[in-house]
Each structure stands twice: as C-alpha cells, then as structure tokens.
C-alpha cells in the first residue's frame, strides 16, 4: 500500500469484507449485457426492450428466492439492506399500528435497524432493545419475557457485522410463531455464506444486501412472507412496482447482479465456508500463539468464521491499523468512528472500555488467500509487539501494576 499514484502502485491487501466485497467476475459477466445493449426498462410492457429486461429481472428474482427457500413472489428488490430494514420495521409497525404498538429488537443490530426503531419511538411506538450476553447472543428467556399483547414485530440480525456472532434464528422463529408475532431478520452478512431457509427458520421478513455477497452496490432485496401474509406500509410511493411495496424502476443490471451473486453463492457456499473456516482458524491460532493478552470478541462457536474481531490489550486499535498500512482492516476503536465513542456492539457484550479501543476486525472472504492471511498475521504480530513496547499500559502491567487501581486523569 504505497500512496495512490495509479499505475504500478501496490494496493493494500483487502481484509475488510464485512464492509464490502469485490464483484465476483461471474456477477460482472451477468450484468454487462444489461449495462450495454439490453437497457430497457423492465416495466415497459409494449416492446422487446422491456420484455427482455423484465425476463432478466424475474430470473434474478428467482435466483434470490432459491437461495433462501422462498417463492419468487416474496422477493422485492430494493436499494440495499438499509432500505429493506427500514421497510420491514417501519412498514410493518405502521401497517398494524391501530392495534399493535410494540417492537422487540436487540442492542447489537445494525445502525439502520436501531435508527428506524428510534424514529418509530418518536411516532409513539414502544421499543424493547434486548441486551446480549457476553458472548453476543441474546437470551431466549429474555426474549420470551419481552413479548407484550401488542407486539407487532421482532427484529434480530442473523450474523453480526462487527463480531460475526450467529443468533439462534431457528429458536427465535419458533418463539415468534408461538406468540403470533412477525419475525424479521437482517441477513445481510449471512445470505450466501451460511444456509438460510425462511420456512425452516420461520422467518417472515428478511433483508438482503448485494454488496456483501460479491454482488453490486446499490441493490438489495427484502423477503416478505405470503403465507401467512405479512402486510407492510410502503416507504416509497409511485407507480406501484414490486407489488406496490416499493415503487420505482427496478435497476435491471443491479438486480441481475444480485441474482447472479445469489446463484454463485449457493454453488460456492460449502466450499467457501470450509476454506474460510480453515483460514480463520489459521489466523486466530497463529496470532494467539505468538501474542499474549488477545481476546476474541463474541461466541467462539456460534459464529460465522469469516468475521474475526480481536482485542489486543494495551494497544490502541487505530494505531495498529496505521501500523498495518499494507492491509485494509477496520477497528471498533473510537478514533475510527465519526463520534469518539467506541463500538456500541462491543459495549453491549460488556467489553471493558480500554479493550473496546483495542479491537480490530479481520474479514476473510471468497478471494482471500493463505498468503494474504499469513502476511497479515506476521505484520500484526510484529506491530502489536512494537506498539506494546511503546505502551505505558503494557509497561505498567509488566511491572506488576493493576491498571484498575490507577486514578486516571480525564481531559
């Protein structure tokens, strides 16, 4: 990663797949005709340009549906998982508002879910934000206890984007069915990586993101169950496209890309999962065997292996990212967020504040190589050791001082 002057300049290794993924070449291939010759509006009924775009769009819809075990009539294209989350939460809440005013979600959801809930609170809805255990999973008993007679929706993400933990979706689906409450899950980080079946898991609404599964940016989908029927108030008004739930011209090339990404993911899922698990195990084992005082955030077992969040005690996250300049990574540290607050997800799992400032997220994906993992590990070990040599906290701990006993100054 030298400074970008184009040309021969080396670019950093990409280890930030939770943030976004590159387009799979097969996905690009599928999109190109619709970015060039086949540019018709898929809602144009009167000519071949429209018909061929419509056919491509419907094929993509089936590909998305197949990946999740749904009927293609239950898949609505959107601009991404953020829009899908907004639709699910606000749409369902508002549709049923005459009789139902309560929503249940968790403290570790993506910002768009939390912010949609906050927004509904200003409209007079009540929201329960379930805490999570130290391992990042919700307590099913607490979920049971949270239901109220007027609960309309439960929203719990499948795989967390910061720490990779996998919620007990099967169990949550069962509980929601028993209470006759709709179950929405933000599956942006799960689709195409672990098997997700909307019937098996009793899911009623699901958010899907294109650019997390080697598809294009700017497109996603929402799954909306037809039996039993889930109604929702549309966010976007217009010509009634997408069953009236999401007006606007469906962007054929993007939809085609999303469909292709889903089909490719379905084919590659088992192979990818096995390879990524091996690489993840390699990364974690090597780092933890060489460097003491490293904590993995989130449950060791109930997780998606390709998202690894580690806290390196006594070393601040952003300084480590700066030191690892040849690798593209991200951190739960305050310095790397717009506010100076460390990650709310790490806070929710009870991470001590100083450890929250010391976290790095490693993303391993379909195209990550063993060499890239080994290079990252080697550099990480080297720079953690170096930064610890520069750390007054490490020095104090080596001298036997209990950091918790110190009265720190505030600025």
């Amino acid at each position: 990663g030298r400074s970008g002057d184009g040309g021969d300049a080396l670019r950093p290794l990409y280890m930030d797949v939770q943030a976004t993924t590159p387009l799979d070449p097969r996905v690009l291939d599928s999109m190109l005709p619709y970015l060039t010759a086949y540019y018709g509006n898929p809602h144009s009924r009167t000519h071949a340009y429209g018909w061929e775009s419509e056919a491509a769009m419907e094929k993509a819809r089936r590909q998305v549906a197949d990946l999740v075990g749904a009927d293609s009539r239950e898949i609505i294209f959107t601009s991404g998982a953020t829009e899908s989350n907004n639709m699910a939460i606000k749409g369902v809440a508002r549709f049923y508002k005459s009789r139902k005013k309560h929503i249940i979600t968790t403290q570790t959801e993506h910002k768009c879910v939390l912010d949609s809930c906050r927004s509904l609170e200003t409209e007079g809805f009540r929201v329960t934000y379930l805490p999570v255990k130290k391992n990042g999973l919700i307590d099913l008993k607490e979920l049971e206890a949270a239901f109220q007679p007027d609960t309309s929706l439960v929203s719990v993400m499948t795989v967390n984007n910061e720490i990779g933990v996998k919620q007990p979706i099967h169990d949550i689906g069962e509980i929601c069915r028993a209470h006759k409450v709709f179950f929405h899950t933000d599956a942006a980080q799960a689709i195409g990586k672990i098997p997700v079946d909307v019937n098996d898991m009793k899911i009623d609404l699901m958010s899907i993101s294109g650019h997390k599964i080697y598809g294009p940016k700017g497109v996603g989908a929402i799954y909306v169950r037809r039996r039993p029927r889930v109604r929702l108030e549309p966010l976007q008004s217009g010509g009634g496209q997408e069953r009236g739930l999401r007006s606007g011209t469906v962007p054929t090339p993007l939809a085609v890309g999303l469909g292709a990404a889903c089909e490719v993911a379905q084919q590659e899922m088992e192979y990818d999962h096995k390879r990524i698990s091996q690489l993840a195990e390699r990364l974690v084992t090597k780092i933890m065997s060489e460097v003491p005082d490293v904590v993995m955030n989130g449950d060791r077992e109930h997780r998606y292996p390709g998202c690894i969040n580690l806290s390196f005690a006594y070393v601040e996250g952003e300084s480590l990212l700066m030191a690892l300049k040849d690798v593209a990574l991200s951190s739960g540290s305050a310095c790397t967020s717009a506010s100076l607050e460390p990650s709310y997800v790490l806070r929710a799992i009870g991470t001590d504040e100083d450890l929250a400032h010391s976290s790095i997220r490693f993303g391993i994906g379909r195209f990550t190589t063993e060499e890239e993992v080994d290079y990252t590990v080697q550099k990480c070990i080297q720079h953690v050791k170096r930064l610890r040599e520069m750390s007054p906290l490490w020095e104090m701990v080596q001298d036997g001082i209990d950091l918790k006993s110190i009265k720190w100054t505030q600025h």
């Binding site: 070393v315 601040e316 700066m322 305050a334 504040e353 040599e389 750390s391």
Partner: protein, 140 residues
C-alpha cells in the same frame, strides 16, 4: 488512496521512525514524570523529562497508548522539550503541535493531551525539587 482521511505522513513518520520512546528512572530526583489520559478514553500518555542543575531539560522519553496522532503528538513533545528550560517548555502549546503534525480537527484533542503531559511532567519535577513548598501551600 483517497486524500480525505489518510493519515498525514508526519504522523506516520513518528511511528515508523520513533524518537525518544522509552523510560527514564522515575525515582531519580531530576526526573519528572507525567501520566495523563485514561484507557477508557483510548488515550494515555506517559512523558518524562530529565532536568540538569541549570533547569534545562537534557533528555525526554515517552510512551503512549493511543492512535497515530496521539503517538505523534507525544513524540513531538519530547523532541521539543529537549534543550529548553522548564519555563520555556511550559510555553509549548497544543496548537503548535497540531500545526506541525497537520492534525485534522477531529484529532486536536491528541495535541491537547500532549500539552497536558508536558505540564504534568514538569509539575512532577518541580514538586520533587521543593516538596515543602507544596506542603505549606496545602496548609494555607
């Protein structure tokens, strides 16, 4: 590489070519130690100065837990205090540190903490030279 959030090279330089990382003997009478910040805030700086019999700072060391800008700010602080008298060093301002390192607005607090670290180290040194003065001031 996008210009916007890229770390200024001045900041990276202090990490890649460290100056004055380390420790002085905190028990020595002519060494002042300042420890500022808090792990919960993601910023802790330890800055030490060694002062000669003429009141001139002859050596300085730092250790920092913090982002690149925090490391660079404290590193630069140790460079600047060397050769200055205690009173001259007290005049070092965070704005000068921030300007030298091209710190963006969101990182200004790092330079402020570095200024605090200098002051804390010098206050500790002064206290060691004249502990009775502090005692009588406390009683007053």
């Amino acid at each position: 590489v996008a210009v916007g959030d890229a770390v200024p090279w001045q900041v990276v330089d202090h990490y890649e070519n460290p100056r004055n990382v380390g420790s002085l003997d905190r028990n020595a009478k002519n060494v002042g130690t300042g420890l500022v910040g808090a792990p919960a805030c993601g910023d802790v700086m330890k800055l030490q100065v060694e002062v000669d019999e003429n009141g001139r700072i002859v050596d300085a060391r730092f250790k920092t837990f913090g982002c690149g800008s925090a490391i660079a700010s404290s590193s630069l602080a140790t460079e600047w205090v060397k050769g200055k008298t205690v009173d001259e060093a007290l005049k070092i301002k965070n704005t000068d540190i921030a300007k030298e390192l091209c710190l963006p607005p969101v990182k200004l607090h790092c330079s402020m903490l570095a200024e605090d670290a200098i002051k804390a180290a010098l206050a500790d040194y002064k206290l060691k030279q004249d502990p009775n003065k502090e005692e009588s001031e406390k009683k007053a």
